[in-house]
Symmetry: C2
Subunit: 282 residues, 2 copies
């Protein structure tokens, strides 16, 4: 099941061709996106997702997204969805056609089934490997043209990291900075639990601020947890009671193995935190 809605409020056949070959989203990976989880007819964290879309667009000097139009397109996909009760909506916003001075951005919302692989990872956890991202934690603020922390369509490296993980027999990746600090996953935020406190690295080190991570923190705080945003090292991960990857579609996924080393069993902890996260939407 797939549902496609353009920002002008029209539904279209997702199996048909809709884009010119010279769309800058294709030619240059020049655009931004968001992936939103829908459960029970509600788009989770829609406000933070739309805020982040606007933030990414500003970092790429794209026209400010039409917030209401994006809300309508999201609603249109939800209203026309006939697939699984839990699904994902991708919002895609590109610079439009190359060399056209009057070019309007290409903008659509696409409802998609969540892959079997992600559903399985939610239940079983994942083996992750750390991969050098080659940047230092000060770079994002020093060099905004590198678009660190923008959710751009230029995700070839994020995809290549996933293939490198598979080559190493793992399911997912934790990127590290040149000083050894923990950054993020290619499509997720890193969270660790230690003595009833949750930790995640600050977005200022050049990573994406996590919408799901923020929701997990809200739920955990309600359940009596302390939450802290501070730099993490690999030692912190190996010494934690639980290591998790958070994203819209994977929710909170447990990392059971890191770089081939089995981590302490965080199954009960994961269950508790996953429940705390769900209370945010109860």
């Amino acid at each position: 099941m797939t549902v496609l809605a353009f920002l002008d409020g029209t539904l279209a056949d997702p199996g048909a061709a809709h884009l010119r070959v010279d769309d800058l989203g294709l030619m240059r990976g020049d655009g931004v996106f968001e992936t939103i989880l829908v459960t029970g007819g509600t788009a989770r964290e829609l406000r933070p997702h739309l805020d982040r879309l606007a933030r990414s667009a500003a970092m790429l000097d794209l026209p400010e997204p039409d917030d209401e139009a994006w809300q309508r397109a999201t609603r249109l996909v939800i209203d026309n969805w006939r697939g699984s009760p839990e699904f994902a909506i991708k919002l895609v916003y590109t610079r439009g056609v190359e060399g056209d001075p009057s070019a309007t951005p290409t903008a659509f919302a696409l409802g998609l089934e969540i892959s079997e692989r992600v559903v399985r990872a939610r239940a079983d956890g994942v083996a992750a490997v750390t991969l050098d991202r080659g940047i230092d934690p000060g770079l994002g603020e020093r060099a905004p043209w590198l678009l660190l922390g923008a959710k751009s369509l230029s995700y070839a490296v994020n995809m290549a990291a996933g293939r490198e993980a598979a080559r190493r027999g793992a399911d997912d990746v934790v990127f590290t900075a040149t000083d050894g600090s923990v950054l993020e996953g290619p499509t997720s935020t890193v969270i660790i639990a230690r003595e009833r406190t949750l930790y995640t690295p600050p977005a200022t080190i050049g990573i994406l601020p996590g919408t799901t991570q923020a929701a997990v923190f809200r739920g955990a705080e309600r359940a009596g947890w302390t939450t802290k945003i501070e730099p993490l090292t690999l030692d912190d991960l190996h010494g934690a009671d639980g290591v998790f990857l958070a994203s819209s579609v994977r929710k909170l996924t447990r990392v059971h193995t890191l770089d081939g080393k089995t981590l302490p069993d965080s199954t009960p902890l994961h269950r508790e935190l996953a429940e705390a996260y769900e209370t945010v939407y109860a």
Copy 2:
């Protein structure tokens, strides 16, 4: 004038829609490309361009490009071109549609007019600024998953760098590594001239091997120049007799100003080297 040929040998209307929204080239910047200059009906450096396309594809774990089919598509664009005698052909090769196990790559060749801006820069030269790329020169070999030196469709950063240059009142960019060494332009190779020797940095520092740079070197060698591939510093650029940016469409473009500082006038040198480059195709 624009001419579009798909890899299966069909011509198509470049103004029409041809791509699904879930093409991974769009969704993830997950594909590779080449830009080739055509003059007098000949695609310059076609062999090196196709070799580099194959190299980039291998770095992204894409299926090996069908070399003959790409040659045919390129020829088809040239044969149907009715625009300016000098034009560009982009070859684009993506992973195809997301989630489709039998997905075939999306592959097309697009003939395009060369922009006024590029033609003007060839004649007048450009002001460039240096921008921190945030990587060290050993990273490319250490971390192949970062795809340094692959010509991927994920060019959002390259485009953002160009906008940063414009904000600083300049036309183009020279990226530098964390140790101060010179990398490349966002869409060009850096060449300097000093005492009848041409220098360019080695591709091993995580940059794209330049097809036009190689052709310029061949032409210059025939004209009695020495050529060297070795690391360059910003001091080398400021102390050079001439600094140039090479790419298929800009050919050899002279940098007249670097970070606001006027460089020594390299107009005669540029004329000599541009002529030497043209002899390669005479």
